[in-house]
């Protein structure tokens, strides 16, 4: 039982990050009907900036939390700037074009792999501990840092979920996802809403990046694994579905965690891909996707 709770807590921590990723992917797919394979790099840039400027800030005499907040703001700002560039010089011209946007994404991935490697070097960076200590919840041990990550991620997911249902922008985003032409015919400015959807998704990825920086080892390729898991989560849950993204993420994280413990991590990975195949056989649009 103890082990089970501990594993559940771990699954929730990993799942929280997948949720931020998959929500972004599903939002971008919803408004623009593209799959953004360069999403992981927006995440990586935010994490790298934090890893890069946190040590000098802390060495300069700032307390760890203050230095972390400043580094995070910088990381998020740079990541959002990158997102805006990708949108204006690329994705804007490939909306509703799955093949074109796929090729464009891959081009951006290769380009950014090179640029990030050049700027930040291939060596992995450790970020100093920001919130030291660990707590015990229902017998499961969690570090304060991971607890913080988990809480922020779940709050962000909750805020997004609430905002989609209750705000003017949220309703416009849903309307565009449902039928972009009908949305245009009631006066929703499609181009602006698509851009905002893309930027909100980039913000979620950037937040995931700054949250993860202190609890993991940061390198330019850090985004890839999360992108793949986030993508699997939305495929299982249904591209374009917000509840689908959340459930898919928790599901993938659970299989990964429990699978690695009870079987072995390579079986866990196999199990995830096996699940994707089974889900797609029975629900080609994902479990909560639209038919």
């Amino acid at each position: 039982m103890q082990t089970f709770i501990q594993l559940g807590a771990t699954a929730l921590q990993i799942g929280a990050v997948y949720i931020l990723f998959s929500l972004g992917l599903t939002l971008i797919f919803g408004v623009m009907r593209i799959v953004n394979f360069v999403h992981g790099h927006i995440f990586a840039v935010a994490a790298l900036i934090v890893a890069y400027i946190l040590p000098p800030l802390a060495a300069g005499g700032l307390s760890a939390p203050v230095a972390y907040v400043l580094a995070s703001i910088a990381g998020i700002a740079v990541a959002l700037g990158l997102g805006a560039l990708l949108y204006f010089f690329g994705f804007r011209y490939f909306q509703r074009d799955l093949v074109g946007s796929f090729i464009l994404s891959i081009g951006f991935v290769l380009l950014l792999d090179g640029v990030l490697l050049h700027l930040f070097g291939g060596a992995v960076r450790g970020v100093p501990e920001i919130f030291p200590g660990r707590v015990s919840i229902a017998g499961a041990q969690i570090t304060v840092q991971r607890l913080f990550l988990c809480a922020v991620a779940l709050v962000m997911a909750g805020v997004l979920y609430w905002a989609l249902g209750h705000t003017r922008l949220g309703k416009a985003l849903r309307a565009v996802s449902y039928d972009h032409e009908a949305a245009m015919m009631v006066g929703v400015p499609y181009a602006r809403i698509a851009f905002l959807g893309f930027m909100i998704a980039s913000l979620l990825a950037a937040i995931a990046g700054v949250l993860l920086a202190p609890v993991t080892i940061v390198s330019p390729v850090i985004g890839t694994d999360y992108l793949i898991k986030g993508f699997i989560a939305v495929i299982i849950g249904g591209l374009g579905s917000v509840p689908g993204a959340i459930l898919g993420s928790l599901f993938v994280a659970s299989i990964e965690t429990f699978g690695s413990y009870y079987l072995d991590s390579s079986y866990a990975t196999l199990a995830i891909f096996g699940m994707v195949i089974v889900v797609l056989l029975f629900w080609p649009k994902g479990v909560l996707g639209r038919g």
Partner: protein, 240 residues
């Protein structure tokens, strides 16, 4: 904007999809206070004309003036903000959103937000059967009710001109009569109407003026009662 500017002045429009031309030199007018209909067979190019006026596709020639202002290259949201309301072919409701949300989205482009609550009541006054179902998902309404919702949604934008694309298609005869009566009622509230229809009999009976579109060209333009009496129209569109 002059007081009696023509509400909609479509002049010499040519348009198509990719390299395939659909509309050839189409000109139609909607004068203030009138109900105008555009009738034509399936594939004649009626919906294409609506998309040109609504800014959803670009014309390759000609111009569109709305309330005396040239609007030829405007985006759809600009057209809606300028006072265009669209009831699209096939209704195109936001099916997974509630009736209330559909109506709220209808008012999305409005700048006079303080009047929205008032118009919400007014619109529901026109459709009393919808009032108790504001929390129902749009997709679970019947066909006739969905048509009412599509009209109500467009009215929430407080349009000066309402474009309706085949609002009676697939509806039972009593519901067709209801829609026809509604269109007259909306017209009397001061909204000008451009009604696109295949059902020429209904359309011409409620319109003041009519145009006949064939293969992307306007082949007839006359008072509605004259078209209704015209032997060619009767043969081609009324089957008598």
């Amino acid at each position: 904007m002059t007081v009696d500017a023509t509400t909609l002045d479509v002049s010499g429009i040519c348009a198509g999809y990719g390299s395939v031309p659909v509309l050839h030199d189409v000109s139609i007018k909607v004068e203030p206070g009138s109900v105008v209909t555009l009738i034509g067979a399936n594939g004649a190019g009626k919906s294409t004309l609506l998309k040109v006026v609504g800014g959803l596709i670009q014309s390759t020639g000609g111009s569109v003036a709305f309330n005396g202002t040239d609007c030829t290259r405007r985006r759809p949201d600009q057209m809606v903000r300028a006072g265009l309301g669209i009831v699209p072919e096939g209704r195109r409701l936001f099916g997974e959103m509630t009736l209330r949300e559909n109506l709220e989205l209808g008012a999305y482009a409005r700048t006079d937000r303080q009047n929205i609550a008032h118009d919400f009541e007014r619109v529901l006054g026109l459709f009393p059967e919808l009032r108790d179902r504001l929390s129902t998902q749009a997709k679970s309404f019947s066909g006739g009710q969905q048509q009412m919702v599509a009209i109500a949604r467009a009215l929430m934008g407080a349009p000066k001109l309402l474009l309706l694309d085949e609002p009676t298609i697939g509806l039972a005869p009593v519901v067709v009569d209801r829609v026809a009566a509604l269109i007259r009622e909306i017209s009397e509230l001061g909204v000008d109407i451009l009604l696109i229809e295949q059902n020429a009999e209904v359309a011409l009976s409620i319109a003041d003026f009519g145009y006949v579109l064939e293969n992307g060209r306007v082949v007839m333009a006359d008072k509605a009662e004259a078209l209704l009496a015209n032997p060619q129209v009767r043969l081609a569109y009324l089957g008598v």
